[in-house]
Amino acid sequence: MMMTRLELDAPLRTLIDGRLDTIERVLLQAEVSRAERVSIVEEVENQIHELLSRRTSGEPTRADVLAVLASLDPPEAYAPEGYRERLVEQHRVENRRRLPQPSMLAVGSAAGGVLTLLLLALGFALNGFESEAGLLLMSPLILLGAGLVTAGGIVSILRIRRSEGWLFGLPAALFAALLFPLLGANCLLVIGLMLLDELGLYGVVLLSFAAANIYLTYHIWRGISFGYQRATPAADGAS
């Protein structure tokens, strides 16, 4: 294929320059001399342009540039081996000092769930929902609380899963995430039952609901905890 000089527009040029700058920064941190940094970066730039020319005869697109950049070695690979080994060791030492920590979002959401339940119970105990004023005051608070607790539970599950074991607290997160959705679903079902007025089945169906709740919670727990393991720092005596 005849290769022609590429005309790259500014955004594509920025993508390429970004990668080249990152390589140069890594080489600078690795204390590579300026002359060698320039040489290496220019070679990479030439390679990028050549690969783009082979990929398309016309103007390359953003997808072309991203594909070529993805085919390159990572910036750290251009650094001398001694520097890369120091980076790996540094990362290992940093991990040794780390200890798994509880997810404060999970703990906070679970605590928020308990507080909201208490608020709900207080509302019923004080007959707060019987008056219009009480209803107007309590309902938004409880709905807001329930929404925040559920959202907090879901987000903390995702964060704990992504932490590679450095955050823990899945049970608290699951409690927060499921508390109000399950409570709401159960309430709707009980209301439905009361409307049907099947007293004979009432007790049996309530037991079935309890079993369904447990079954659902158990399987969701299995799903979110699958593959999760709390990280253990390397044992070397360092705290």
């Binding site: 040489s39 290496i40 070679e43 030439n46 390679q47």
Partner: protein
């Protein structure tokens, strides 16, 4: 096993790059592709480009800049006289090591 192969190749990259440039000059990516086309000598550009920069600094390679049809000017590398001597030393060592290892392996086999 993969780590051993990687380390083994790393030790030979300099010899292979210099051998590639012994007869003809070439630019960086061209050298990477030539080595990739030879089975068992696959090396990455992140290994070759720093090596080329070092060999140029040590004056084992001469660099000639040529306008490129596709982008920035290309750097063509060619072995210098000092580089040729360095290459011959490496080839002599390689042959010696190769002979010794073969002798060891044949000795174990018999």
């Amino acid at each position: 096993m993969q780590q051993w192969i990687t380390q083994f190749r790393k030790g030979l990259v300099e010899l292979c790059v210099m051998a590639t440039l012994q007869k003809n000059e070439a630019y960086g990516y061209q050298i990477v592709e030539q080595l990739r086309n030879i089975g068992g000598l696959e090396v990455t550009e992140s290994t070759v480009y720093p090596l080329l920069a070092r060999l140029a600094r040590e004056q084992h390679l001469r660099v000639r800049t040529v306008p490129s049809p596709t982008g920035p000017p290309r750097r063509y590398y060619r072995v210098t006289e000092a580089g040729e001597r360095h290459l011959q030393e490496m080839i002599a060592h390689w042959r010696q090591i190769q002979g010794s290892v073969n002798q060891l392996l044949e000795g174990e086999g018999s």
